[in-house]
Amino acid sequence: MTGSDPTPRHPPADPEADRRRLDELDAQLRQLRGTVEKPETGGPNGGLSHRQTGVAYRVLVDMIAGLLVGGGLGYGLDRWLGWTPYGLIGGLIVGFAAGVNNAWRAIRVYSDEAAKGDGNRLP
């Protein structure tokens, strides 16, 4: 903040003046926020933000979990119905597709947000 503070050093005791000073402070804060925080939302920032790292983790885990669930399901079918090894193979393929599907959905939401210039919000 620049310039000397306009508020008096010894504030008056009555509550009316207190409220007026609070209102003034509020207006000042709002004005400062308007000038300082606006440019941050639009401009791209260098490097990976924590949110972007979050997206990367999410995509990675989505794909691994898809494989695990599909493989587990296929293995279960093999044990149950004696389809060895076709249940496991089919399960892995479907699981991989499901993982990619989830990952794709996560990325798509994120890139939609990024296109709107709000890319740092969602993981």
Binding site: H50, T53, G54, Y57, R58, V61, D62, I64, A65, G66, L68, V69, G70, L73, V94, G95, A97, A98, G99, N101, N102, R105, V109, R121, L122, P123
Partner: protein, 242 residues
């Protein structure tokens, strides 16, 4: 030297057996109890004064509340208001588990997959019930992508169904793996410090300091990710939008 995995061992503190069920009070139960008590204290004691200009503790409580409130409002909309207490509880619980786990000699309940999976399964089953309660059997059309020729649906519907069932797994694995990997890494580098001794042990020690900072970020980030994914799943169930 201690194994880096020793920190994840569960010890019985009080023995309880209900029939054949082992319901002993363990160190993980103890730390979850501590987490619940501290989180409750933060909100109850912090908000006791209800000051217009908040003090330190009240400020923390308000920050957490507003953070989650904004998250729910942005991702679920006004329909999500009903579920805000649940998301806040989940967020604060996971955050406290993760952060308190970084205190030396403490225990991290979220580094056990059974804990994270129980929470993820609760979210998954709850969200599915909400979906069926809100839309009835029409909720099943969530698994049928729009604008796709009929013959492709034979392949796509199983994929969509499995994608849906992957959710609790990816939700729980993400949190558990992050916590497990972080704490193991801290212990491994701690072992290096002891091995290298006074002369060269400073390098891994400096690394541990940096790593602890990173772990603090991850502790917050994973709690955030868990909460926001819960919001996104809720949004899917309430509005059925892909």
């Amino acid at each position: 030297m201690q194994s880096p995995m020793e920190q994840f061992e569960i010890h019985r503190l009080l023995n309880f057996h209900i029939g054949s069920l082992d319901a002993s009070y363990t160190n993980t139960s103890l730390w979850m109890t501590i987490v619940v008590i501290l989180a409750t204290l933060l909100f109850v004691v912090g908000m006791q004064k209800r000051a217009l200009v908040p003090g330190r503790i009240q400020s923390m409580a308000e920050l957490g509340y507003e953070f989650v409130a904004n998250m729910v409002r942005d991702n679920v909309g006004s329909a999500g208001k009903k579920y805000f207490p649940f998301v806040l509880t989940l967020f604060v619980f996971i955050l406290f588990c993760n952060v308190l786990g970084l205190v030396p000699y403490s225990f991290t309940p979220t580094s056990h997959i059974i804990v994270t999976f129980a929470m993820a399964l609760f979210v998954f089953v709850g969200v599915t019930i909400i979906g069926f309660a809100k839309h009835g059997l029409h909720f099943l059309s969530f698994f049928v992508p729009k604008g796709v020729p009929a013959w492709l649906l034979v392949i796509l519907v199983p994929i969509e169904v499995i994608s849906y069932f992957v959710r609790p797994f990816s939700l729980s694995i993400r949190l558990f793996a992050n916590m497990l990997a972080g704490h193991t890494m801290l212990k491994v580098f701690g072992g290096f410090v002891v091995m290298l001794g006074v002369l060269a042990g400073w390098a891994p020690l400096a690394f541990i300091v940096a790593l602890t900072g990173l772990e603090l970020i991850i502790a917050g980030l994973q709690a955030y990710v868990f909460a926001i994914l819960t919001c996104l799943y809720l949004n899917d169930a309430l509005h059925m939008s892909h």
